[in-house]
């Protein structure tokens, strides 16, 4: 009897596996699901996803839940006082400022690269601002929508200075540390295959493990977004012993991500980002915003700061939404310089992340 049960169990599982591998199973599954939707019209899970529901839920809750990185100095990390700090974290504050007029009404959820999309899909977080690269697959298959890019990055490679590695071809036979669940893991495989270079990836889930193993000499090189390499280099034992190669493996546009299905929320996140761009374009920052608001005669500035045009209400927010962002968090240049610019350990040049006025890629649609 027992043996029969075992046999049955094993048969069942093998059956499931076989069915899973056959393509017909997938189609049948999809069909079955369609039927369910048509006949039941389900009321769905615990998190809202239709138009306007996210903002409503956030307002009712009284704070925003923002998915961030907690291991990436400069972008998202916990400082010695236990507060979240960084470039991405500041955009969470900007969203909170736009909604509540208070930048601190944010709850942060630290997420690994692997966890982030599940957290977004299941509604555990309202918005994901965690140095996340915008790709076609993620935009479509993960049920995610990517808002305006906040940071244009490229994938780089860091090696030890004394290794003598100068170009990609020098990495023949190398061990390369990389974080799993990232676009960098895929780009690395693509680029190495394209150049016919044999290498061994050493894959970890958390950034601390990746850079820890690299620092111990487990790998000849470590690959990630260049900004991340610069940031993590400061946490290595001897930062001066490491050099970032002058190679860019890929385009990495990083920005906030929201769930599909709530266009209002998507618009809000987009325009919060655009507001920080616009603030820089108009020369408005956290220090002069009150003075400008009191004296300005410029119609564009008036619309931006909520003195005319009821721009905020069109987003479902109050009209001083952009004023609050600039006042409490700052414009893009302030956010950038505070976290990554001169005076920080990273001192990253603006490069592509400059306003279009200064020859960069940041270009906000008009607020009118």
């Amino acid at each position: 009897m027992k043996r029969t049960l075992y046999l049955l169990g094993i048969l069942l599982i093998v059956g499931v596996l076989l069915a899973a591998c056959g393509s017909s199973a997938g189609q049948n599954g999809a069909q079955a699901v369609k039927t369910v939707i048509v006949t039941v019209q389900a009321k769905g899970g615990n998190t809202p996803s239709g138009f306007g529901t996210t903002l409503k839920a956030v307002k009712e809750r009284g704070h925003l839940i923002c998915g961030v990185n907690s291991e990436l100095p400069g972008f998202g990390y916990v400082d010695q006082q236990g507060n979240y700090k960084g470039f991405d974290v500041d955009f969470c504050h900007a969203v909170a400022a736009a909604i509540f007029g208070d930048p601190n009404k944010v709850e942060f959820r630290p997420l690994t690269a692997k966890e982030r999309f599940t957290a977004l899909q299941t509604g555990e977080i309202d918005v994901l601002i965690r140095n996340t690269t915008w790709t076609l697959t993620r935009d479509t298959e993960l049920g995610a929508n990517f808002a305006a890019t906040t940071f244009y990055d490229g994938q780089g490679i860091m090696v030890r200075k004394d290794s003598g590695i100068k170009k990609l071809e020098d990495l023949q036979g190398a061990k390369i540390c990389v974080a799993t669940g990232t676009t960098t893991e895929l780009n690395l495989a693509d680029q190495m295959a394209a150049h016919g270079i044999k290498y061994t990836p050493v894959v970890f889930e958390k950034a601390d493990q990746v850079y820890g193993a690299y620092d111990e000499g487990r790998c000849d090189a470590v690959t990630s977004d260049k900004s991340q390499l610069v940031s993590r280099r400061t946490t290595l034992k001897n930062p001066k012993d490491h050099v970032i190669l002058d190679i860019t493996l890929s385009k990495e546009p990083l920005g906030p991500v929201v769930r599909q299905g709530d266009d209002q929320w998507f618009d809000i996140i987009n325009w919060v980002v655009f507001a920080t761009f616009t603030g820089e374009e108009l020369g408005i920052n956290s220090k002069n915003v009150d003075k400008i608001k009191a004296t300005t005669q410029n119609p564009n500035v008036k619309k931006f700061l909520g003195l005319e045009g009821e721009m905020g209400q069109k987003l479902g927010l109050s009209d001083d939404w952009a004023y609050n962002i600039i006042k409490y968090v700052g414009n893009y240049a302030e956010i950038y310089n505070r976290n990554l610019g001169p005076g920080t350990p990273f001192d990253l040049p603006r490069g592509l992340n400059n306003s279009w006025i200064n020859g960069g890629l940041l270009y906000a649609p008009p607020i009118r």
Partner: protein, 393 residues
């Protein structure tokens, strides 16, 4: 008399029992259906219809260790198989080494020598009371990553190259005579089986059981050695050519390369599980009553014979069932590999989940694979348990 049988059905115990069973079944099925339905509708709302189509798509990522050919242009399905094989590899090796080490320590624990006894107790108490994850991280960052860098690698005889990139040891490369040698090995196996059968018959007839396993193994090894020598003399080609590792550029080439991740995972699992197996073995041996040993000694068996013929066969019946659950634990614990970067099933499935966003499908597949692996292991162990069960004659 007949009247007595006509109890109304709502007071009939058998009917009530049936009804209780049916109600329980209905409630269980309804609950599972509710969970399933809830999941499907929640997924559908987000536009994520369950489908296993993604298994046929290009994976796009590399896996450092693969027992079957794999590169970035292979499919997700193949990546799944690679991860599964890595898990099976480390589990089987882990089970073998943990059993050997566990039995040794378990027997040491019963030694009358004070030092040996205490050493074994110390080992068991320390290892059993440290979480496996801590042990794994210790082996990885505390032992294998602290080995010298490749440039200062240690050369052990062989040559075996030891560095924090892992251990590269000499290995054999099959030559043109390898397939002939496989036939010779088959012949050796058959001869060994015949020896086994004959010796067992003799043992049963005379009542003096010879060392069956020893003689069969010797037969097999003898044929293997003769075959090797024969091939070298007559075909001028040994079946395996030595494949020696050497350092070339940034890595070692040739030989058998064991990565620090693999070594750390294997060591952690073996040392951890061995502590539990040692206790299982000790309990099994102690369960054999003292009278058995005394009777055996009275019959004139020496210490080794007593252990081999009287104590161990009886202890085995007590050992095997808990041993099975230790094996299952080891296989399932191997999923902690993800913390030290070994691409086992859980780690690879995690990457696939991440790249495709198919959380439910990937989890279902992963659970099914672990479940079937455990069921197969326990089916085998149950068969073995039945085989060694005390047969009364």
């Amino acid at each position: 008399m007949m009247k007595q049988a006509s109890v109304p059905f709502w007071r009939d115990e058998r009917v009530l029992a049936w009804i209780a069973q049916i109600v329980f079944l209905v409630v269980t099925v309804a609950f599972l259906w509710y969970l399933y339905h809830n999941m499907i509708t929640a997924l559908a709302e987000r536009g994520l219809l369950p489908s296993f189509h993604f298994l046929k798509l290009t994976a796009g990522f590399d896996i450092s260790q693969h027992l079957i050919p794999y590169d970035r242009s292979s499919t997700y399905g193949r990546a799944f198989i690679v991860g599964t094989l890595n898990t099976i590899e480390v589990s089987i090796l882990g089970i073998i080494f943990a059993t050997i080490l566990g039995i040794i320590i378990g027997v040491m624990r019963l030694s009358t020598n004070w030092l040996i006894n205490k050493l074994a107790s110390l080992y068991i108490e320390i290892i059993r009371n440290v979480p496996l994850l801590v042990l794994l991280v210790f082996w990885y960052t505390g032992v294998f990553l602290q080995l010298p860098r490749l440039k200062e690698a240690k050369f052990l005889p062989g040559p075996t190259i030891v560095s924090n990139r892992g251990i590269a040891m000499p290995w054999g490369k099959p030559t043109s005579t390898w397939h002939i040698y496989l036939y010779i090995l088959l012949v050796g196996f058959i001869l060994a089986a015949i020896v086994w059968w004959r010796l067992t018959l003799i043992g049963k007839r005379t009542g003096r059981m010879p060392l069956v396993s020893l003689w069969s193994t010797l037969t097999f090894l003898g044929v293997a050695a003769l075959g090797w020598i024969g091939l070298v003399i007559f075909a001028h080609q040994a079946p395996l050519a030595p494949d020696l590792p050497k350092i070339q550029g940034l890595s070692t080439v040739g030989g058998l390369e064991l990565s620090p991740e693999f070594l750390a995972l294997l060591s952690g699992l073996v040392f951890y599980t061995a502590a539990f197996i040692a206790e299982v073995v000790r309990a099994g041996i102690q369960s054999v009553s003292k009278g058995q040993v005394e009777a055996a000694r009275a019959l004139g068996l020496n210490g080794f014979q007593t252990f081999r013929l009287v104590v161990f066969p009886q202890a085995l019946r007590v050992i095997v069932p808990p041993l099975t659950s230790q094996y299952l634990n080891l296989a399932k614990n191997s999923s902690l590999a993800v913390f030290i970067g070994f691409p086992d099933l859980y780690s690879v499935a995690g990457t696939i989940h991440n790249q495709t966003g198919r959380a439910v499908e990937v989890t279902v597949l992963m659970m099914s694979i672990y479940l079937s692996f455990s069921l197969i292991t326990s089916a085998f162990m149950n068969w073995y348990n039945k085989k060694i069960r005390f047969v009364e004659r």
